[in-house]
Amino acid sequence: MEKEKLVKIRDLSVSYQTRIGTVSAVDHVSFDIYKGEILGLVGESGCGKSTFGKALLRMIDPPGEISSGEIIFNGENIMEYDYDRLRDFRGRRASMIFQDPMTSLNPVQRVDEHLIETIQVHEPRTKQNLALQRSKVMIERLGIGMERLLSYPHQLSGGMRQRVMTGIGLILNADLIIADEATTSLDVIVEAKLADQLREIRNDFGVSLLLITHNIALVAEMADRIAVMYAGHLVEIGDIYKVFEKPKHPYTQGLLASVPNIRFDTKEQLYKMPGEPPNLTHPPLGCRFHPRCPHALPICSQREPSLLEIEAGWSVQCWLYQKQSNEERSD
């Protein structure tokens, strides 16, 4: 089952110049996003997952910059795009849903105006009534209810606002939707409904969804694959079932074991990971996780492991799995 690749990210780095030095928020990250998949990108605060999401749309503002790498979107390197092409790319081919819809929506614009504006900015020749027609179809599709078309953002509930955001992301038939903590501020029942809706949208429109979140249980609920970031590094990526069943990277192992589970048939003790994520101005040498790692080897504090495919479609950045192949190589 060879899947078609939508985005190829190669060696992507984002760094911020600060008074106390250079912070490498995303450090040489490479992976692919397949067409029509839901990829969950998880990690804790400051691991670089949001920065990574923004970098995919080249939305890094100074003092930050994309310091290396390529983003190949449908065969084109968007790092080479000029301003106009980039502007057209954002929204039309890849769009983003943010955590807080209240700050993302314009408070003095109605729902219909948001959608029509989105269409007309990218397709200026679209007639008003045609744009309205398309907006109505989208509104209906997202279960927002026609009576909401003339509402202002403050008149909508949080869940409804997030649906409007989703509609804006979808109305130009983007191939990739990046949802950055899109369900985080919602109540569980509303979150569950939005999750259902995003899954339906994927099934109906065939879009790829990059779900950036700290909510690991939500990724288990929705995603096809999971990518785990730690301190700016991609430490593990693989099939959702396989990774949850037998995570390879010690960080993934610890992370999954520390997620609270509402079911009583599971272990009653949460794993208590020692320490806290490092400060990225002075990340630990070698593997960035080694100071907190229960399996750290001498080499872990000296040299950085590379992301190695240990099984088809399953890659891990950890010396535990590289030792063997390295020894083979040196023989």
């Binding site: 029942i189 249980a217 509402i262 806290e276």
Partner: protein
């Protein structure tokens, strides 16, 4: 009114909430008040009775607007009751003068969600934690520093002398919440109101904080009133839990009872909505229709009836009482047995 207050009276309750209500008036302009002449109220807490046993961790869970935070604030006298009684250690809070209530507060402390907002950015951590001692134990001034050092060690901020002189921005979020916990415990409270204390912490830090709270509860003989929207987290700390919907209690029982044998349709929906960290156990249950109604004009009868799959005519007319359907398991639903 509720089934909970005719329980055996020989139990040792640290906190008794008796039919408490809190209605917030909606601010209107003067013209509105003159010409419309009517003030609307948000019924944040509407006739709730809970008895919290000494030494237990009682959880209050519900979605936004369920009234969980308001109940917490009412419980320690931070908010004035519209109706009802709050009895702490046998004393009716309403009978106390302001100064007496202030004195009693050393026995009831609070931990809020955001430690950065809870700590004064211009005070060192040691000074922040010492405030409680300055107010409640001014006579022991010579011992204050030692007490602060000892509490820092208890919450895992070691070496204490290193942290005491730091400012909030110099430490991590997890450590800040430890400082807030230390500040709450330094006056030796009996009751700690914890309002979403770990909601802002990352998963790997959250497990440590929860564990710390469990340890400290044993060591200091604390009672927790634990307020959360996160049912999965509540499982690891609470003994009993109350599920709230629009200012009303839907269900109360031990955590195990509620999670394994939920009887209220709302509790069932809420539990089903919580994602499970196991892709092989994805949710199949449909979610309830619609959204949480406006608490200004809550639905008649049972407040959940417009969204309830079991709703009958009775539900839209008669408000169900909280009844003990199984020993220690209270449910407010006309059809609890059905489902």
């Amino acid at each position: 009114m509720s089934g909970m207050d005719d329980r055996k009276t020989n139990e040792d309750f640290i906190l008794e909430l008796q039919n408490i209500k809190k209605y917030f008036p909606i601010q209107k302009t003067l013209l509105d008040q003159i010409f419309v002449g009517r003030i609307d109220y948000v019924r944040a807490v509407d006739d709730i009775s809970i008895n919290v046993r000494r030494g237990e961790a009682f959880g209050l869970a519900g979605e936004s607007g369920s009234g969980k935070t308001t109940i917490g604030r009412l419980s320690i006298g931070l908010e004035e009751l519209t109706e009802g009684k709050v009895i702490f250690n046998g004393t009716d809070l309403a009978s106390l003068k302001k100064e007496e209530l202030r004195k009693l507060r050393q026995k009831m402390q609070v931990i809020f969600q955001d430690p950065m907002a809870s700590l004064n950015p211009r005070m060192t951590l040691g000074t922040s934690v010492m405030q409680g001692l300055l107010i409640h134990y001014p006579e022991k001034a010579d011992q204050h520093r030692d007490m602060v050092v000892s509490i820092f060690e208890k919450v895992g901020l070691t070496p204490a002398n290193f942290y005491i002189n730091k400012y909030p921005h110099q430490i991590s979020g997890g450590q800040r919440q430890r400082v807030v916990i230390a500040r709450a415990l330094i006056t030796r409270p009996d009751l700690v109101l914890a309002d979403e204390p770990v909601a802002m912490a990352d998963v790997s830090v959250r497990a440590l904080l929860l564990d710390l709270m469990v340890q400290l509860k044993k060591e200091f003989n604390l009672t927790y009133l634990f307020i959360t929207h996160d049912l999965a987290t509540a499982k690891y700390i609470c003994d009993r839990i109350g599920i709230l919907y629009l200012g009303k209690l839907a269900e109360v029982a031990t955590v195990q009872e509620v999670y394994q044998k939920p009887m209220h349709p709302y509790t069932k929906a809420l539990l089903a909505a919580v994602p499970v960290p196991n892709p092989r156990k994805r949710r199949t249950e449909p979610m309830p229709e619609g959204e949480i109604p406006n608490p200004i004009n809550p639905p008649s009868g049972c407040r959940f009836h417009p969204r309830c799959p079991l709703a009958s005519e009775e539900c839209s007319m008669i408000e169900p009482k909280l009844e003990e359907l199984e020993p220690g398991h209270f449910v407010a639903c006309h059809h609890a047995q059905l489902g």
